[in-house]
């Protein structure tokens, strides 16, 4: 035989280790979401119409939220001096209609407070201006902007979203990561998300 039969992990052990590691990675992906759904804080969000040109790519619906637009008036704390990749913390509070809106945002951390939930945005590129002022609106995403649906069912959701009749219930982990728990169409829950 060739040299390759020496210095080699026994094939069966190799198979078990490789498969177990890859299973662990997949398990971690699934569990990271399930744990948020299990114990996260509940919030309910309104969705906004999306430019119809990139409505449906594949089998998912693009969801856009009012909290994805941060007006500069609610930003507190230090503003980054240079252009860099940043994340923001956004404090959400429930309104009278049960929908949560952004009440405060910061480039640093926000302390947890009673009656509010703090979300972390995904990292984004921040471009500082010459006189170091914020733009009027900052556009952020949270990782809940995409919802996969069975083929052909995306259209209904998009129409509803474009008529502003679609709401999203999400759960938020302590670290501020949200996961979609269910979609609500005209007050009726649809696509209730099981843990696994």
């Amino acid at each position: 035989m060739t040299i390759s039969s020496f210095l080699r992990v026994p094939p069966l052990a190799a198979a078990i280790v490789a498969a177990a590691l890859q299973t662990a990675v997949l398990g971690y992906m699934v569990e990271s979401r399930a744990s948020i759904l299990r114990s996260g804080a509940d919030i309910k969000l309104k969705t906004l119409p999306v430019d119809p040109r990139d409505l449906l790519r594949g089998d998912y619906v693009i969801l856009s939220y009012p909290i994805s637009t941060i007006p500069k008036d609610i930003v507190t704390g230090e503003i980054p001096k240079d252009s860099q990749q940043v994340r923001m913390s956004v404090r959400l509070k429930p309104g009278a209609d049960g929908l949560w809106t952004a009440s405060e945002a910061s480039f640093g951390d926000l302390a947890p407070a009673e009656g509010s939930v703090v979300l972390r945005t995904l990292p984004f590129e921040y471009y500082s201006s010459v006189d170091n002022v914020l733009p009027d609106n900052i556009f952020v995403s949270y990782g809940i902007e995409r919802y996969y649906v069975p083929e052909g069912e995306g259209k209904v959701l998009e129409d509803a979203r474009n008529q502003e009749e679609l709401e999203v219930e999400a759960r938020v982990s302590k670290e501020g990561t949200p996961q979609i728990a269910r979609l609500i169409l005209k007050g009726e829950p649809i696509y209730d998300e099981p843990l696994y």
Binding site: S4, P11, A19, F124, E125
Partner: protein, 367 residues
């Protein structure tokens, strides 16, 4: 293919009475028994593994409603386990080639599983992270099984990672490639040395050349181009000069280290031609390029055909470029073509003379 040329030559020598027929058979048999020799069966088997992997993943993705989510998850994880275990059993039975197909299938199924899990559980896809995790999974599998085929998959995945969709990547931006690309190339080269998948080495070298191009695209200055050319020159000299401490090591990897470092040097010089504007700089650069071409032919011409031809090409292109820059404007178009023709004829004569010397030197060595 070398196999075809070898057979033709052996048959010719047999007809000329230089060797007898049994020897021809024995030589070809020896060549075919080498593990690295090209086998259509093996290539087709790997292609089959790719196709089946694609079919299974599409089947799972398409039958969205018919299969409950948890069943889909268990199914795809089962595919990974099944493929790796089947590969392991086949290896212990000595069916290395069929085993390679199963291992490739398992590694591809892992990538599909990452995509499917992301889709099924509405995890907003971070493309870069997903491809990087896939690459790492492939590297681990290649190392554990000591598999050349999975090393090749990892080599391709390194390119997939480098080409990730940055608008869909939140965990990092493209500047991580500045250190990640060479790191991935080193990992692939280590795997190649460990698994013996010599051809995959080219993927690693191409990744490094792509990396240098990426550096230049990030920092488009003459300094970068000079640094690339200088790096290529140093790497080439380390690989090609017999006195270099790395010479033996580089030779053990075949002709590739010298060729790719020489290629980097030439790419660097080419980019510099676009960076330099004034005549003196360009003339200096031209002479430098000609010297580099001659140095390549002189140093590696005998043992490394790839470097030799790149050297010829660079020499001819540079000569014509210099001619067009200097006398081209004076003598007019037709005169320039005449001069070009003469220059190319001179180079051709030089090439023929050199090639004759190389082949003479070879026969002398053999004698």
């Amino acid at each position: 293919m070398y196999r075809g040329r070898l057979e033709r030559d052996l048959k010719l020598w047999e007809v000329q009475g230089l060797i007898d027929a049994p020897t021809v058979g024995r030589l070809l048999k020896e060549y075919d028994s080498r593990p690295s020799s090209f086998s259509l069966g093996r290539v087709l088997m790997i292609i089959a593994a790719l196709l089946v992997a694609a079919a299974v993943l599409l089947l799972v993705a398409a039958n969205w409603d018919a299969i409950p989510r948890l069943v889909r998850l268990v199914g795809i994880v089962g595919l990974i386990w099944g493929a790796y275990l089947a590969g392991a059993v086949l290896i212990t039975r000595g069916a290395e080639r069929l085993a390679a197909a199963f291992l490739v299938f398992g590694t591809l199924a892992f990538g599909g599983a990452i995509a499917l899990v992301g889709q099924m559980y509405h995890l907003s896809g971070d493309t870069f992270q997903a491809t990087l995790v896939w690459f790492v999974g492939a590297v681990v599998a290649a190392a554990l099984f000591r598999s050349g085929a999975v090393t090749a998959v990892a080599g391709f995945l390194a390119f997939v990672v480098s080409g990730a969709d940055w608008t869909q990547s939140y965990s990092a931006n493209e500047t991580v490639l500045l250190w990640l690309m060479p790191l991935m190339a080193v990992i692939i080269i280590l795997l190649v040395r460990y698994t013996g998948a010599a051809r995959v080495r080219h993927l690693a070298y191409l990744l490094l050349v792509t990396w240098l191009a990426f550096i230049y695209s990030e920092y488009e200055t003459p300094t970068t181009a000079i640094a690339i050319a200088a790096f290529g020159a140093v790497a080439y000299l380390l690989a090609a000069v017999p006195q270099s401490p790395l010479h033996a090591f580089a030779r053990s990897a075949g002709a590739a280290p010298a060729f790719y470092s020489y290629l980097v040097l030439m790419v660097g010089l080419l980019v510099l031609h676009a960076e330099f504007d004034n005549v003196a700089d360009r003339l200096f650069l031209g002479i430098l390029t000609l010297m580099a071409a001659i140095a390549g032919i002189a140093l590696s011409g005998k043992e490394n055909g790839a470097v030799r031809y790149l050297g010829y090409g660079a020499f001819a292109a540079e000569t014509l470029y210099l001619a067009s820059e200097t006398i081209g404007s004076i003598i007019g178009t037709s005169g320039f073509f005449l001069v070009s023709g003469l220059v190319v004829a001179l180079i051709a004569w030089g090439v023929i003379a050199l090639e004759r010397r190389f082949s003479k030197a070879e026969t002398k060595v053999e004698a």
